[in-house]
């Protein structure tokens, strides 16, 4: 019996599609830190099954259910997707037929929240993610830049106050400058959201800047090679990225990742 409640627990999780093993024997626990939450970044090369981990937490088929092992969220097995685990993807992030305001209010609409209440909350969140209510609330996604669309997606997820936020390379398609802005915004917002965040990326800088802990994944079949605790970032990435300690930590992780991955390759 564990005395501490876990928000997410993977125990010996393997997922296979036919002969293809996507992840193998993944085990980790993220404790529930009420009122704080934790920022977990999952770092690994493309196609290493990082997304599979997120989709198993979200309960999205075909990755859900597992082939072997169990996935627990808040100490109960995952049965399927739900609003307690919001997900932000890299592409097709906003509903094209809805304005910014209606996109942000989507989840509330599904819950049956009244129109007035929906509008007020949506507008508050539009402001929080750095968009302008009078200028942007009635725009359609086709009129927005990629970064603005990701802001809409983040607002739409956070407005529901999920316990877990799953982010699958959300800034992967953005230009470098926008990406840094989005990292700063997310760093600010998630603390307020008091949620546990799982953030998949293949950028070491991004993983270190955003994360409280970093899971380093190996390539196929994906499994956790190492868990690294990193210090909290309290300043914009533009400043942090220039700092000696930050650069050293990134280099350090890069070396670790290289050695670990070359040794797993050799072991194949």
């Amino acid at each position: 019996m564990t005395t501490l409640a876990n928000i997410v627990e993977f125990r010996g999780v393997t997922k296979r599609f036919g002969d293809l093993t996507v992840i193998r024997d993944v085990t980790f626990t993220v404790p529930d830190l009420p009122g704080i939450g934790e920022f977990v970044t999952i770092l690994g090369p493309s196609g290493c099954g990082k997304s599979t981990v997120l989709r198993l937490i979200a309960g999205l088929p075909p990755h859900h259910p597992t082939t072997e092992g169990v996935v627990h969220v808040a100490n109960a097995p995952v049965a399927g997707p739900g609003a307690d685990r919001g997900m932000v993807f890299q592409d097709y992030t906003s509903f094209d037929n809805r304005t910014v305001e209606d996109n942000v209010a989507f989840g509330l609409e599904c819950r049956g929240v009244g129109a007035r209440e929906r509008r007020d909350q949506a507008r508050a969140w539009i402001e929080k993610v750095g968009l302008d209510v009078t200028r942007d609330a009635h725009k359609y996604p086709s009129q927005l830049s990629g970064g603005m669309r990701q802001r809409v997606a983040i607002a739409r997820t956070l407005i529901l106050r999920p316990r877990i936020i799953l982010m699958d390379e959300p800034f992967g398609a953005l230009d470098p400058a926008t990406r840094l802005h989005m990292q700063e915004l997310l760093n600010k917002l998630w603390r307020e959201a008091e949620a546990t965040v799982f953030f998949v990326t293949h950028s070491i800088e991004e993983a270190v800047y955003l994360g409280d802990r970093v899971y380093v994944f190996s390539a196929s079949p994906g499994t956790i090679l190492r868990e690294i605790a990193v210090p909290k970032s309290d300043r914009p990435p533009k400043e942090m990225l220039r700092e000696k300690t930050f650069i050293d930590l990134v280099d350090d992780i890069r070396d670790t990742v290289d050695t670990l991955q070359s040794s797993t390759r050799a072991g194949d």
Partner: protein, 266 residues
């Protein structure tokens, strides 16, 4: 030179000018080959009357041959038949696009329906529905419904999975996913398909009016041919073209108003 850049559409005014120029060229050729006295023409008036003869015959088409009633009868048949095809094809298509078991079950029948030579439906519809208006409407309906159905299925099925997954993690129920995500996102595509299919339905009217019609543009064409009124035939063909164009423009206009977030193709 820039006009011939690969895949680049010329500016709007240039487009219109080019289109109008091509029509003008056609009329010019028509005018030249039908120039002069009847005996000296390059093309005999029985085959192709001159532009002037065609336009001059408009009064007799309008007054003596009940053009307006025929246009009304044709539009009524197409609208009823195609409207029925929408009423049946779209809901069934939505269901089949969302629940693929229905699609799997319907696939052979839909394929069969799409590949059936439409003219072959005439004897069958006469057996089933007689030779009156019902037969004509049902003919259009049966000819169109497989296409309406298939396009609707395709529109629903091609909504990216991401949207469904996103809405699931935002707490949407199955019914909400169907209405707020799948149908809402597929609607512009469905509308666009219907707009194109309406053109096809209009094209079938000739076949529908082959048997026992007393009005209708197809009927007018048939009787013009029997009576050797080649100028009426050409005039009616032009009217059909103009009608189809006007209807398409109207539908396009509504499309832009209904789906402002999605640029419609012309």
């Amino acid at each position: 030179m820039a006009l011939f850049a690969l895949r680049v559409s010329p500016p709007r005014t240039v487009r219109y000018l080019l289109g109008a120029g091509a029509v003008a060229l056609l009329v010019l050729v028509w005018w030249i080959v039908t120039l002069g006295a009847v005996e000296t023409r390059l093309v005999s008036p029985v085959i192709l009357p001159s532009p002037l003869e065609v336009f001059a015959s408009f009064a007799s088409l309008l007054n003596e041959r009940a053009l307006i009633e025929s246009i009304a009868a044709t539009l009524r048949r197409v609208l009823l038949g195609f409207g029925l095809a929408i009423l049946v094809g779209v809901p069934v298509g939505i269901a089949a696009g969302a629940w693929r078991v229905f699609e799997a079950a319907a696939a052979p029948v839909a394929l069969f329906g799409r590949n059936l030579p439409v003219a072959a439906l005439i004897p069958l519809t006469i057996l089933w529905f007689g030779i009156d208006e019902t037969q004509k409407v049902m003919f259009i309906f049966i000819a169109c419904v497989p296409f309406v159905y298939s396009d609707t299925v395709r529109a629903i099925a091609s909504v990216p999975d991401r949207y469904v997954e996103t809405s699931q993690t935002l707490g949407a129920s199955r019914w909400q996913i169907l209405t707020k995500v799948l149908v809402a996102l597929a609607l512009p595509d469905i509308y666009n398909s219907l707009r194109h299919l309406f053109g096809m339905a209009f094209g079938y009217i000739m076949l529908a009016e082959l048997i026992n019609a007393s009005y209708g543009l197809g009927y007018l064409l048939m009787t013009s041919q029997r009576r050797g009124l080649s100028e009426h035939i050409i005039l009616i063909l032009m009217i059909i073209g103009l009608l189809a164009f006007a209807i398409d423009r109207a539908l396009y206009f509504f499309q832009r108003g209904l789906f402002p977030y999605r640029p419609a193709d012309e």
